[in-house]
């Protein structure tokens, strides 16, 4: 039986994906980080503090909620929503930020930097930086700043400095380039909280481990509520941290099917999308080898998605590996399909999902009617949609005027 639930090798590879493709200036720090993380993993006191903050600060465990009306409406599988949007700050991103800031403190760092797309990771990073009294700089693309104003204001309220990045198209990849430039300049005192399961080793495995609480809880909750494991898991993927967090504790369970949902933008065949696995090729960017949106000359192509959080031309290396292993099925959902599912969830369940999570819901909308009523499907509701009010209003207004 193939072993899917693997640790990366000594150089951080999952199969041929991953690695540590960074400038020499960062290498010593990344090696330190790895040693510190290895030590923290086996440190009972670190784990106790992590559990404490997850419970009393983040509000875990998040509920596994039976979406009764949505299930009846779709007329097939029994849909459960993993309610990560109820976490403090409104998304799964805080799970990882709490873990990384505890590590930053162990390492004696005093300054936090982070990149953000939709702003959810930026808000989560600014939140933990405030909680631990550390200075915080958030890099955010200027396009994203425009479409995610509420989150920009939240970050500033929390005491973070938000630096607009105008390079490229002013989205997540450009913000990540700029964060890497800051890190290489301020390497002595600065800790870079990467928000997804990408970047140089050990970030992909470390962020996955901090997010795996989602899948561990889901497993326990489903066993308690239904007396058995779920039949399928569905999650949206930009870099892929909420999906990896949900999937990872189930990778060894052969009966559990998994579907990762990429942002299909205006359609994968239009060239305007963010579907790295369905529309990309292997390459090296931001410290790891993975599937990328790139041209024939190895230049990175800008991603497009209605959802700022999925608007990234790469994907976490472990997803690339699981894709080639065929353990997880990776599909794509267009902007329009996500918007439809967004509205459906609002009206059927009284829950306003993030546009990112609406991609996962849209896939569930497609799949559920084709499945029997005893099929247990978990959709990761990775974030709430408050931040998207302006862009959804804009889009729907434009469309239905």
């Amino acid at each position: 039986m193939p072993q899917h639930s693997m640790q990366p090798d000594a150089n951080g590879f999952f199969g041929r994906f991953g690695g540590r493709f960074v400038a020499e200036t960062l290498m010593p720090l990344i090696l330190d980080l790895q040693a510190e993380y290895d030590a923290a993993r086996g440190d009972a006191e670190f784990q106790r503090r992590l559990a404490y903050f997850q419970r009393d600060y983040v509000g875990r465990p998040s509920p596994l909620y039976f979406a009764e009306r949505l299930s009846a409406h779709l007329g097939g599988a029994k849909l459960y929503l993993k309610r990560e949007e109820l976490n403090h700050t409104g998304a799964h991103k805080i799970n990882n930020c709490i873990g990384q800031i505890l590590l930053a403190r162990r390492m004696g760092k005093t300054r936090i930097i982070a990149e953000t797309g939709a702003g959810m990771h930026g808000v989560a990073a600014a939140t933990v930086a405030a909680r631990f009294g550390m200075s915080c700089v958030i890099y955010m693309g200027s396009t994203d700043i425009e479409r995610q104003q509420p989150n920009v204001f939240r970050m500033k309220l929390l005491g973070a400095e938000v630096i607009p990045v105008t390079a490229g198209t002013g989205t997540l990849k450009d913000a990540m380039n700029e964060a890497l430039r800051d890190w290489v300049t301020n390497v002595a005192d600065t800790f870079y909280i990467i928000g997804t399961v990408a970047g140089p080793h050990p970030y992909p495995a470390m962020v996955r481990d901090f997010q795996a609480v989602i899948g561990r809880e889901t497993r326990e909750q489903m066993l308690a509520q239904e007396g058995r494991l779920p039949d399928s898991l569905v999650a949206c993927i930009g870099g892929g941290s909420n999906a990896m967090g949900l999937f990872h504790p189930f990778l060894g369970d052969e009966t559990v099917a998994m579907v990762g949902v990429e942002a299909g933008g205006k359609g994968v065949d239009t060239g305007q999308h963010a579907a790295s696995l369905n529309g990309g090729t292997p390459g090296v960017l931001h410290g790891n080898r993975t599937y990328l949106l790139q041209d024939e000359d190895g230049q990175i192509i800008d991603a497009h998605s209605i959802s700022a959080g999925l608007d990234y031309p790469g994907i976490g290396p472990e997803h690339a590996w699981l894709h080639e292993q065929r353990r997880v099925d990776y599909v794509s959902i267009t902007d329009d399909e996500a918007l439809d599912a967004f509205q459906l969830c609002c009206r059927q369940e009284g829950i306003i999902p993030a546009l990112e999570s609406a991609h996962a819901l849209a896939q569930a909308v497609k799949l559920a009617p084709t499945l029997p009523r005893d099929h247990l499907m978990v959709v990761n509701l990775s974030g709430r949609g408050d931040k998207d009010m302006l862009s959804v209003a804009h889009y729907l207004g434009e469309k239905f005027q």
Binding site: G19, R20, V22, A23, E24, T25, T185, R289, I300
Partner: protein
């Protein structure tokens, strides 16, 4: 493999003259192929001892604004990896002596295909590679295959590379060692010469390769100061800014060669 590479010969000759090398960086295809070729062809006469030719990349994570913009200009003018190699071929038709090193990021090479790239680079007359995002942990990706093709792999030693790590960094290094004088991106703050002198001294305990100092060096005075104790001084951002400021291709060529001459004259007085 050649008995002695162009880089080895050039550094040996300069050592005999007791003169530090001027290493000039320009981005291939900036602001366009033809102008870039004219700039390249004139660099040796203007005083460049070694040429670094940047392979433009859409996401240059280790570069400051000047070289980011240069890469963007080059890509917008249609520069490709194949055309960068064509620039080298065209340069080599007239100059068989000046060492030329390609500098950039791994992805465009990976996408071109490593073996095909190395074959084409050898044929074009490339002497060495500097690939910023390939630390020694990934030597099997490109560094070792390059060595098999007789292409030097120039390693960066940075302020965070401590004595414990240096042997690993220098293990498969060849050509010269690029001593990054400050933590940060290209074209940033200037290093203090005392600090750099100490770092170069420490490096010499670990290697017999020539040591080039770079990052943040913008003018003749700085170059001359650092040239007293290092084997080479690299100037990049200041040169590509000449291209950025130029109103016409002719101005760009004249400005780059003009600054190169100033730097070269200054460095000839360094020791």
């Amino acid at each position: 493999m050649n008995d002695a590479s162009r880089l080895d010969k050039r550094f040996a000759a300069l050592k005999a003259e007791n003169r530090p090398a001027l290493v000039t960086y320009i981005t291939a295809g900036d602001p366009g192929f033809e102008t870039s070729l004219d700039i390249l062809k004139g660099l040796p006469a203007a005083g460049a001892d070694v040429i670094e030719l940047g392979m433009p990349f859409s996401d240059p994570m280790a570069d400051g604004p000047a070289i980011q913009k240069a890469a963007l200009r080059a890509l917008q003018s249609g520069q490709t990896q194949a055309q960068t190699l064509e620039l080298v071929r065209a340069f080599r038709r007239e100059d068989t002596q000046t060492p030329l090193v390609l500098m950039g990021y791994y992805n465009p090479i990976y996408r071109y295909d490593v073996e095909r790239f190395l074959d084409d680079a050898v044929r074009a007359g490339v002497d060495g590679l500097i690939v910023v995002d390939l630390p020694p942990e990934h030597d099997d990706e490109l560094c070792l295959p390059a060595a098999q093709h007789g292409i030097d792999f120039i390693r960066l030693a940075t302020p965070t590379t401590d004595a414990k790590r240096l042997p690993r960094v220098l293990g498969n290094a060849s050509g010269f060692v690029y001593c990054v004088s400050v933590t940060g991106v290209t074209g940033g703050r200037a290093p203090t010469s005392q600090h750099v002198e100490r770092t170069v001294g420490q490096l010499r305990e670990h290697t017999h390769l020539p040591i080039a100092v770079g990052f943040g060096i913008r003018n003749t005075e700085q170059a001359a100061t650092l040239g007293r104790f290092s084997d080479a001084v690299v100037v990049g951002s200041a040169l590509v800014e000449c291209v950025e400021r130029a109103a016409t291709p002719h101005d760009a060529i004249a400005a780059v060669h003009g600054l190169t001459r100033e730097l070269a004259e200054g460095m000839r007085r360094a020791r």
